[in-house]
């Protein structure tokens, strides 16, 4: 089982003719993802890696029955691409693009509330159901099929933790990188809710980082609504207050909230143990599953 994507998911790639778009379309197809169309304004009628390209997402959906999209569109045009995807009522939109202006995302997020679409990202590695499909840029070979769900704000940290799990023979149901920007489509709580409802997910890893209060909200959700055990990891314990650590979102306000300490305390209090290292996270998961 899985959440949000499986081998039936029919994918349209927005920005398929670009460098990243075409490279990762190939990677996704090699992994087994059912990429049915591309959408690039002005490039309708072309083909990329054998995939037909349409001028609009609307055409791609009408002709190829796509139900999900992956956005590989440069930051200046990414919000428009997300609006276009939302306008076609797709089930899922995964926005990989890094550097989308925050005010653009506030408008997209506002529009998202009027739809039934799940938006993942932006500035994220995407989503993968091992052995079935991946939508995004995650390296497929480190994942394995199993019963642990994973949700993370950071791409490379996702890979690190998955590697620690896979090395021990612990596979995953679905792994989602939700992205590190201040405004994102799918939050920890949204993902945890989906994992809780998934009968095959027996444990969940949640990787957070400094900045914002999403982890604190997730801790509240875990203590109030989850039976599935969760183990956490929080990056940025050593980050100095007031400095932006890479992600726009990863900044400690200095006023007590958003710090690694407040997130770790909130998760521990919610019964979700937080590992000091990725290895310790895998230890917790191993214990949950035994």
């Amino acid at each position: 089982m899985s959440i949000l994507v499986d081998d039936d998911t029919r994918v349209v790639v927005q920005g398929i003719t670009g460098g990243e778009g075409s490279f990762h379309t190939e990677q996704m197809m090699e992994y087994g993802t059912n990429v049915v169309a591309g959408a690039v304004p002005g490039k309708g009628g072309q083909e990329v890696k054998g995939v037909p390209v349409y001028d609009t997402v609307h055409d791609a959906v009408a002709e190829e029955d796509a139900d999900a999209s992956v956005v590989f569109v440069p930051p200046a045009f990414a919000a428009d691409a997300m609006f276009e995807a939302l306008d076609t009522d797709l089930d899922l939109v995964v926005a990989i693009t890094e550097g989308v202006p925050t005010q653009d995302m506030a408008k997209v997020y506002r529009r998202l509330g009027e739809t039934d679409t799940h938006l993942i990202g932006p500035n994220c590695p995407g989503i993968i159901t091992p052995g079935e499909a991946k939508l995004g840029i995650l390296p497929g070979n480190i994942f394995s099929d199993g019963n642990v769900g994973l949700v993370s704000r950071s791409g490379t940290l996702t890979y690190q933790v998955v590697d620690n799990l896979t090395q021990r023979g612990i596979g995953q149901t679905t792994a989602i990188g939700i992205g590190g920007d201040p405004i994102i489509g799918t939050s920890f709580v949204d993902a945890l809710e989906l994992f809780e409802a998934d009968t095959e997910t027996e444990a969940v890893v949640m990787c957070g980082e400094i900045g914002g209060e999403d982890e604190e909200q997730a801790a509240k959700f875990i203590s109030e609504h989850m039976d599935t055990p969760v183990a956490g990891f929080i990056a940025g314990r050593t980050a100095p207050p007031g400095k932006r650590m890479g992600h726009a979102g990863a900044i400690v306000s200095g006023s007590g909230t958003g710090t690694a300490e407040s997130k770790i305390d909130a998760l521990n209090d919610a019964g979700a143990p937080v590992g000091d290292t990725p290895e310790e996270v895998a230890d917790h998961i191993e214990r949950f599953l035994s």
Partner: protein, 381 residues
């Protein structure tokens, strides 16, 4: 990107927000000329990117030319919390009765902008927000419509602003929201918004932080970026386009992806070392970028050892290895020991081409970090 006060005031004034008469000066003579023009009292304010300038001696009020000369001499050239002051804003002092606060920012938890007004301006507004949050009236704004005038009025009434100036304050808040939106700001604030004895309002300070990701559509604002405003190494990182933060330890850290780099920092600390920096080479880095990253870290005199932690996704291990080789082969002797850990996309290809005579290689993150910490201990002894 953070604008200086004088730059922000320029933007605010252009939008129609009243600001005091002022001149920018970079020498004592220029300050004297400015005060003779503006009159007394006159504030002399250091233009550097630090908070709490007043308490640190960076803002003084001169009542005559002699004082102006003396204060200008004190402030120009001073070191303010690590920043060199080379310019001051000379500004007409405002005779005020009240100090208010108005601001617009993004409420990331709500995913919507929020406009704020308080009659408790002129002090540390973050302390007000923490201790007496009810003293700040907040109005969330639908980003699809922008702020309606009624919302600005509501915020002003909710904040208990005196009726005789309510109209002026709500008009300023509306203008501030519009300019926040127009400039793709993350924060736009006036603290204090001074109320004069004639019951006029004037922006005595101005804060404008612009979203770096949106600078591509604001070339005029991007030009205001003061590259000399930060640490020398941070300026160099800016030139290379890295996310870089200089820290106080001696283990240099290079990695890809903010979360993984932060985790590497945390593990250095966990294993008893101290991180010298945060350096994220970003996604999809090519060899040249890797070479630049090593140049950055080697040019920090505090660095005693380096750990390179790459987990490839969009970044390819062979490109990283090529960059490491190119950077290190240029040296007769490697300045500091380098530990490399490569995993993920094309890691095997990367390991095959990596020049292992120049670097130490570890398979896992934990081993790589522990080795780098040990190297740093040995070098620093």
């Amino acid at each position: 990107m953070r604008l200086h006060e004088y730059q922000a005031k320029g933007v605010f004034a252009d939008a129609g927000i009243p600001v005091p008469d002022s001149r920018l000066a970079s020498s004592v003579d220029e300050v004297v000329a400015a005060v003779e023009d503006i009159g007394f009292p006159a504030a002399i304010k250091a233009q550097v990117h630090v908070g709490g300038r007043g308490k640190a001696g960076g803002i003084k009020i001169a009542t005559d030319v002699e004082e102006a000369r003396e204060y200008a001499d004190d402030i120009l050239g001073m070191d303010l919390k690590g920043y060199h002051v080379d310019r001051v804003l000379v500004e007409a002092g405002v005779d005020f009765e009240d100090e208010l606060y108005v601001g617009v920012t993004m409420d990331r938890g709500e995913g919507r902008p929020v406009a704020m007004v308080s009659e408790k301006g002129g002090v540390d507004i973050e302390a007000v927000a923490e201790e007496t949050p009810e003293a700040i009236a907040r109005e969330h704004v639908d980003p699809a419509f922008g702020m309606h005038p009624f919302q600005a009025r509501k915020a002003v009434y909710d904040a208990g602003i005196d009726r005789d100036i309510a109209r002026q304050v709500s008009s300023i808040l509306t203008t501030l929201y519009d300019l926040w939106e127009d400039t793709d700001a993350s924060d736009a604030e006036i603290n204090p918004l001074m109320v004069t004895s004639e019951r006029e309002v004037v922006a005595a300070d101005a804060v404008l932080n612009v979203d770096d990701d949106a600078l591509f559509r604001h070339p005029d604002l991007a030009e205001m970026e003061d590259e000399a405003a930060g640490d020398e190494l941070e300026a160099k990182a800016n030139k290379y386009g890295f996310d870089y933060v200089r820290l106080s330890g001696n283990v240099g850290i290079i990695g890809n992806g903010a979360g993984l780099v932060m985790t590497t920092l945390d593990l250095v600390d966990y294993y008893g070392g101290e991180p010298a920096n945060f350096l994220d080479i970003g996604g999809g880095a090519k060899a040249e970028r890797v070479t630049n990253a090593l140049d950055m870290v080697f040019s920090d005199p505090n660095v005693d050892s380096v750990v390179f932690n790459i987990f490839g996704g969009i970044t390819r291990g062979d490109e990283v290895a090529k960059g490491i080789n190119e950077a290190l082969e240029a040296f007769d002797e490697i300045p500091k020991p380098v530990v490399v850990r490569l995993a993920g996309t094309n890691a095997t290809e990367g390991m095959e081409i990596l020049n292992t005579e120049l670097v130490q290689v570890e398979e896992t993150l934990e081993d790589a970090v522990q080795r780098a910490v040990k190297n740093a201990e040995e070098v620093s002894q």
